[in-house]
């Protein structure tokens, strides 16, 4: 029996988002004449309940077998409309979207060419819809265990949460101890609680937890698989270990900015110039002193390596303002006679209790001077901070016998390697990139891989813990569900055309292709395949197609765009810009 497409077309006004520049009625009328279309309607908001009801009603009453919605980007509402057609008994892959908002109405002015373009986009989607095929959606069982990479505050907390919920956790830490950078800190801000009071119990709980396996001095060598079924090779002191995990949390942390990249500040050449991290060690010893001498003039300098485009760190490191405030206060308390100056550009006291803490610090006698020092030079047995006090509008030279540079946080040097292992994206500043800055702050673009702590950007302890717990919760969604859906729009091989050359396997980022040992052709593991299409492009014999994006579907779509189509009005002559080579 030959298949006869019965296509419904639904044109959305999106309020006035589309209707202001596109003649909706004309597009609706136009699409009624397209091959295979049996019904065409328009509505103010197609994504609304009444809008969806229109579609469902037509499917049931008019026996539609393909649906096209002309509205916004599929990133916005494809899931909505897929769910609607499924509700009415269609396969979700029998649905196609024409983006006449972002790709048309929003970027063109109100003229006839805009409506014509909308018509072409609809015609193109309708042409593809006639060739759409229902696809089977698979479910795969999930390994009920998680891998946490990194044993700092964030990694420890994520591991603990997931284990407490009843799942097995492997925690891999590269160095030979747990605790990360927090282990080097003296006290927190603004509560001044000793860090060890929080960190030690956490390490203890993780180390002794029956469901957590801690591997220190270990590193992840390779990761394969997909959400629910990751296979991870870990290099340990005792050799290579294989781990299966349903979800992975990346909590690899940060590095401290190397202040020698701003040589004019003299770090590394003047012993009087130290970093905030050096100061923590000094504070932990209980003595503020340099070469056995107590400083009488102490200068703190903010924003070293942060908010600095020249060293490649445009961002604010967020913690330094409060770290400096706490350290300056400590100096003032331990050495009441000392003159303590904090040089700042802006004081960012955004967190709970931060502004109040900043008030306390100033009231303890610490002087805040606005101006970011330009250089530090030696004068006798002291160093001189050269700056402009921008509130006075005067150049100043402030002598000091201890200068503390508030060094920012930077991505780890090996962040590129980690990103490569897990196929993570990185933001412009080099930290790992979350899937969405607002709505998916702990997810990554890779399903089943989540971010926690400073590997995603500078954070204080409270924020790291919050993100760690969020990442643990997100990771537990697939673990608890026990099954995951895998993408149905995967590639498939025409075995008559395949020569088994393997070029597809070379370009596949998901190791989804392999040579069949008997048949001598390539085979696709549909569970690993993400449907990116790279193999299809690489194949010299055109043997690889991608479901839902087949050659046939594409050609129909392109054919409709390049003019085998009768438009109601002639397109105005538009001069094309030459292609930049």
């Amino acid at each position: 029996m030959t298949f006869t497409p019965k296509i419904g077309v639904y044109v959305c006004h999106c309020g006035i988002n589309i209707a202001a520049t596109v003649d909706i009625k004309a597009v609706t009328e136009f699409s009624k004449e397209l091959p295979g279309v049996v019904v065409s309607r328009d509505y103010t908001y197609m994504c609304s309940d009444p809008g969806q009801a229109l579609i469902k009603k037509d499917i049931l009453e008019q026996g539609l077998n393909r649906v096209v919605v002309a509205s916004c980007s599929p990133r916005m509402h494809e899931p909505t409309f897929r769910a609607a057609v499924v509700d009415a008994g269609l396969n979700p892959y029998c649905f196609e979207m024409a983006n006449i908002r972002e790709q048309c109405a929003w970027v063109h002015s109100n003229e006839s060419a805009t409506t014509l373009k909308a018509m072409q986009l609809v015609a193109s989607s309708v042409a593809k819809a006639a060739y759409l095929e229902p696809l089977e959606i698979r479910q795969v069982a999930v390994v009920p265990a998680a891998l946490v990479i990194g044993g700092g505050m964030a990694g420890l907390q994520s591991a603990l949460d997931i284990a407490e919920a009843g799942f097995q956790v492997t925690l891999v830490e590269r160095s030979d101890r747990l605790g990360g950078h927090a282990a080097q800190l003296h006290r927190t801000f603004p509560t001044l609680q000793p860090v060890t009071e929080m960190l030690s119990p956490l390490i203890e709980q993780v180390s002794t937890h029956p469901r957590i396996r801690v591997m220190i001095g270990a590193q992840v060598d390779s990761v394969s698989g997909y959400v629910g079924n990751f296979r991870v090779q870990v290099q340990t002191g005792q050799g290579e270990v294989s781990i299966s995990a349903g979800a992975i949390i990346v909590a690899t942390g940060f590095e401290v900015f190397d202040a020698r990249k701003r040589p004019e500040l003299g770090y590394g050449s003047y012993p009087e110039v130290i970093t905030t991290l050096d100061f923590e060690r000094m504070a932990a010893s209980g003595q503020i002193s340099l070469n056995g001498r107590q400083p009488s003039r102490v200068a703190f300098i903010q924003c070293v390596g942060s908010r600095d485009r020249v060293v490649g760190n445009s961002y604010c490191s967020r913690v330094c303002c409060m770290v400096t405030a706490r350290q300056a206060q400590l100096v003032q308390q331990l050495l009441p006679q000392a003159q303590v100056n904090v040089f700042y550009m802006d004081v960012r006291a955004y967190g709970n209790g931060f502004e109040e803490f900043y008030d306390d610090v100033r009231e303890s006698g610490v002087i805040y001077r606005r101006g970011n020092p330009s250089e530090i030079v030696r004068r006798g047995d002291r160093v001189v901070v050269r700056a402009e006090d921008t509130l006075l509008g005067e150049s100043v030279e402030v002598e000091a016998d201890l200068v503390v540079l508030a060094v920012g946080m930077v991505p780890r040097l090996d962040a590129g390697d980690t990103a490569g292992l897990l196929k993570l994206s990185r933001s412009a500043d080099g930290f790992f990139l979350e899937a969405h800055p607002k709505l998916r702050p702990v997810d990554t673009a890779v399903a089943g891989v989540y971010l926690a702590g400073c590997c995603q950007g500078p954070k204080d302890i409270a924020e790291s813990i919050a993100q760690a717990r969020a990442a643990a919760s997100a990771a537990m969604i697939p673990l608890m569900r026990g099954q995951v859906q895998v993408e149905a729009a995967t590639s498939f091989i025409d075995e008559d055309l395949c020569a088994g050359c393997g070029q597809c396997a070379e370009v596949c980022a998901f190791t989804a292709l392999s040579l069949h040992p008997v048949r001598g052709v390539m085979t696709v593991n549909p569970v690993l395949c993400q449907g990116c299409g790279a193999c299809s492009v690489a194949c010299p014999s055109g043997a690889i197609n991608v479901h839902h994006f087949t050659f046939e579907q594409f050609m129909a779509q392109i054919g409709a765009l390049i003019g085998e189509l009768e438009l109601p009005v002639a397109l105005p002559d538009v001069e094309m810009a030459p292609v930049q080579g």
Binding site: R307, R309, S374
Partner: protein
């Protein structure tokens, strides 16, 4: 009224990126002794609305264009270039300082700012066997104005000639064909004249088939490298070529120079172009030389106050010259020789040594002059 359209100006010069942190001014060597305050200048420009009055802003002529401000700015704003552009706005209105006027006119007429006759430009080399570039050579040696005319700096050019001939470098000069590079002209705000000079020089270089070029002065070097439109010519400062000769042992030093030497980084070599190591490599390669560093070295080097047209302008505070502070810093190291690699630094530092009556304790020499003693 010397009014400029400040909004437009701020946009063109990226001043809206400024966060008023004061790093430019904190590091500015002139800010401590004059009214020049790059940060506040930018702020006044930003808050001025549409029009900013340049009348009475004498401090614009204090800037030595040392580029400390730009090298420190965390937002990549360039106050120095803004100052140069503001000078241009003043010069455009015909308001030029008499000394500057003479220098600019001389550059226009004679191809040098020193009011020296053009035909005398090659005189320094008359007793030396030096190829003319027109006869074909691998390198063009662009000598520069003061090395051509100033007897003190001619000594440096002669040293370079000897060193490079000994090292087997195939180079030629332009002699009386050579004309000012225009670096100081541009920094004095004469943008139009600079453009003309640059065009003529480009033609000249093309005409003699120059593929590689080295200069005596970091100022010429910088302007060819960074101010001229790209022309495919490889531009180097002579210390870069010389360091290569020393490293590859194309140049062998046979004598010892038993001296303690401290090196002053010229702004246009160091801060402008990040060339810190090559001159030091040459000095370290000279047998007997003990190289000591001043506290303010490399990125922190203190400007001698000779750049940005300051060879012709007193500035608003002619009192203590930066070069005098600098010489004092050199004296503090106990060095016998204060080495540098820039004609302007050489002259200003020399003068400062005389001013401080320190001739018996410290000699100012160019790196090439020290190296040539070891041949």
């Amino acid at each position: 009224m010397l009014q400029i359209e400040s909004r437009q100006f701020s946009k063109e010069h990226g001043l809206f990126a400024c966060i008023q942190c004061g790093k430019c001014t904190g590091g500015c060597p002139m800010a401590l002794k004059t009214k020049l305050n790059p940060r506040m200048l930018i702020y006044r420009m930003l808050v001025a609305g549409d029009g900013f009055n340049l009348e009475g802003r004498e401090e614009l002529w204090d800037c030595t264009t040392c580029s400390t401000c730009y090298s420190r700015c965390p937002k990549q704003v360039n106050p120095m270039e803004a100052v140069i552009a503001l000078r241009s706005a003043i010069v455009e209105k015909g308001r030029v300082h008499p000394n500057v006027k003479t220098a600019l006119e001389s550059t226009f007429r004679h191809g040098n700012p020193l009011t020296m006759p053009r035909e005398d430009r090659g005189k320094w080399v008359e007793d030396l066997e030096v190829k003319r570039m027109a006869d074909g050579a691998e390198y063009l040696y662009f000598v520069g104005c003061s090395p051509s005319y100033d007897p003190r700096v001619q000594h440096v050019a002669r040293a370079i000639v000897r060193l490079f001939q000994q090292g087997g470098v195939d180079f030629g000069i332009l002699a009386e064909e050579e004309s000012c590079c225009g670096s100081e002209v541009r920094r004095l705000g004469e943008a139009g004249l600079f453009e003309m000079i640059a065009e003529e020089n480009q033609e000249l270089f093309k005409g003699v088939g120059a593929g590689k070029l080295f200069t005596t002065s970091p100022h010429c070097f910088n302007t060819f490298k960074n101010d001229y439109p790209g022309n495919g010519i490889q531009v180097q400062h002579y210390t870069q070529v010389l360091a290569g000769l020393v490293e590859q042992r194309a140049l062998e030093f046979s004598k010892k120079v038993e001296k303690t030497v401290t090196y002053h980084d010229p702004c246009y070599l160091g801060k402008h172009n990040n060339i810190f190591d090559e001159p030091r490599d040459v000095l370290r390669g000279i047998p007997g030389v003990k190289l000591v560093e001043m506290d303010r070295s490399r990125q922190k080097s203190l400007c001698c106050e000779g750049g940005g047209g300051r060879m012709w302008l007193e500035g608003t505070n002619p009192g203590t010259r930066l070069a005098q502070w600098r010489v004092q810093e050199a004296l503090d190291t106990g060095a016998d020789i204060l080495a540098t690699a820039c004609p302007f630094c050489l002259v200003t530092l020399d003068e400062a040594v005389k001013h401080l009556n320190a001739q018996d304790r410290l000699r100012v020499m160019d790196v090439a002059e020290i190296a040539v003693q070891a041949l």
